[in-house]
Symmetry: C2
DNA sequence: CTGGGTTGGTGTAACGATGCACTGACTCTA
DNA sequence: TAGAGTCAGTGCATCGTTACACCAACCCAG
């Protein structure tokens, strides 16, 4: 390897290592221009790059942040991870990516490992109602940002949450279907009890009630506990749901709100299995507006999350809290989702 | 933070730090059982975890490996990244994930950074014909594994390549369409000159010629250099291609081989824009067999890559070369792709 | 009962960067 | 010109772990 160290630079520039270190750490006001130039030249000539391990050992923290998503195999999380990387790069930070598969134990292990690895902060994409599984790490000083999970009453005070307003999202989706004349609207999700699932469901109920309909009359499909599907298999949830809701003799809906686009696409696939036509026979709306929503046949109506903006916010909080202007901790940012109407929803 | 160090453990176990270190590094044969147990107990009681930065500073390398993909926003790469993580975890390794967006300069910067970060090895998903942009790092000792890019004549000797046989893949896809009776078969890809694009195209030509047809008579769409699309926008390439190939007066094909599934799905979308029906009016086949291929309407015929197996192989080479039995470097592994027939391809 | 070998450890100097406390040389001001 | 103050830069201990070189105690053959 023959690493170039700060000592080599110091020797080449005829100064002490301390001075080079001062230069590297933006304390160059404390030296004359000529010295600064000598150091700059030496660094360039030798191709010096600071050793991160040494820096981290000294400083305690590294220039890396952690990102824990359910699974990058799911296009929504893949797209989000990409946005996070872009934002982190702008702040001079690397991203360590982990897939939790929504397993609380894996979430905990990853968060612990990342913390021990000396990351600056962690964006945790979880939907667990409680954060107690990572509570001890937060107590030790970890900057945790939750994404896709609004703040909950029992959260540790320092946690920042970035999320869309899922309640509003649920309402937007449902209202759209109501406006198209649907009155039998199903709600389809996986079996995992998640914060945002609850909120979207509540929004769905609110919209129905506002229209004078009772949620109790609606078919709600929430998978079975026996078979837990991960995010990659979200589509399978939707497909199964379609088969169930439209089996013979069932009280079939004319429209469906799916918990996310993958589930929605799976539901569409399920409808097709049964010879039903999406949009014509049954309207389907999803969440997230993944890239495939627009590609699908028919293109899928969806509730869009502004992931680029959310990623920027989340990264800023994770690596440098307070950079957003306000530096009170424990903030919960709820962004407004946006309805994107395509052809999978049509008037009844 | 109040870190527990190896010194604390040593004190608690009434041994020297060296002995604890020996224990931690599997040199426990050199100590009596009672000592071993005291150390084990002390570690457990204090909740000691070794400091990675210090270890890395001492040893030079860390327990992390790098993965550079074009973009996790593309479902194929997302799925692959997930498989890599699973495989790495089994080997006790973390994964540092980067998106190159197929930009050679970003590839180089990431590889350099990862190397300086002390990763054990890197899986680089590139399709550039030459590896000279990262050649200097390889010379310094980096273990590089390329994925989705078979070995090229000028590659440094130590590089290992894991890939499917794209030539065979191109043949399989094309033969399938020929068997269905198609004789006007287009080839659609982006404009990026890549190794596997060439190989797939060659396979396509080979299959046509074997059937007595001339590739010169076929419409080949390779985007325009003016607009370079990344992997996320692969779908846009396909959509544009459909619009072009089926514009009025064009010599339209009855079947299409697309360079990958995202492009294929985009192509399907383009056909739909034009009022054409996938499978019925035009048969479409893609590559990769991403999860959405099966979900699409109609389900997409595709050439599957065994990504799970490939990920395992690649990780093994990156973190512990020679673990696969053979320890000669510079190997090129070509796996056989598999045709998955669905409804997007039908007889003419 | 000496001398060589084995067993079960320990002391210590790194790895590379950092930042506090310090100094020597100047420059003012009174 | 003494004394204080600034400027530009340096020395050194430190972060936690590792591995080499070393050592003390014991055993046994000759």
């Amino acid at each position: 390897m023959a690493r170039v160290t700060i000592q080599d630079v110091a020797r080449a520039a005829e100064v002490s290592p301390s001075t080079v270190s001062n230069f590297l750490n933006n304390r160059s006001e404390r030296m004359v221009a000529a010295t600064r130039e000598r150091i700059e030249r030496a660094i360039a000539e030798l191709g010096y790059r600071p050793n991160r391990a040494a820096r981290q050992l000294r400083n305690g923290r590294s220039q890396t942040m952690g990102l824990v998503v359910p699974s990058v195999g799911n296009p929504f999380w893949g797209a989000f991870a990409r946005e996070v990387e872009v934002a982190a790069l702008e702040m001079g930070c690397n991203v360590l990516l982990c897939n939790s598969e929504r397993d609380p134990d894996r979430e905990r292990r990853y968060v612990e490992e990342l913390w021990e690895d000396g990351v600056r902060g962690i964006i945790l994409c979880t939907s667990l109602p409680s954060l107690e599984h990572v509570g001890h790490v937060i107590k030790e000083g970890l900057r945790l940002v939750t994404f896709d999970r609004p703040a909950q009453p029992n959260d540790p005070a320092s946690v920042v949450s970035i999320s869309i307003d899922n309640n509003v999202g649920g309402q937007i989706a449902t209202s759209h279907l109501l406006e198209l004349g649907h009155t039998k609207i199903a709600f389809v999700s996986g079996s995992i009890r998640s914060v945002n699932r609850s909120a979207r469901y509540r929004g769905y109920c609110d919209a129905l009630e506002a229209a004078g309909l009772s949620p109790d009359d609606m078919p709600v499909w929430a998978g079975t506990d026996a078979t837990r599907f991960g995010d990659v298999e979200a589509a399978q949830v939707g497909r199964n749901a379609a088969h169930e809701l439209f089996r013979e003799g069932a009280d079939a809906p004319t429209a469906v709100v799916a918990i996310n686009d993958m589930t929605a696409l799976g539901f569409c696939r399920g409808l097709r299995d049964l010879g039903l036509e999406v949009g014509v026979d049954v309207s389907v709306i999803g969440f997230d507006d993944i890239i495939l929503a627009d590609l699908y046949d028919p293109p899928l109506t969806s509730v869009r999350q502004p992931i680029s903006q959310m990623a920027k916010l989340a990264v800023a909080e994770a690596v440098d809290p307070g950079a957003n202007g306000s530096n009170e901790p424990g903030r919960s940012v709820l962004l407004r989702p946006e309805l994107v109407v395509r052809e999978s929803t049509q008037s009844k």
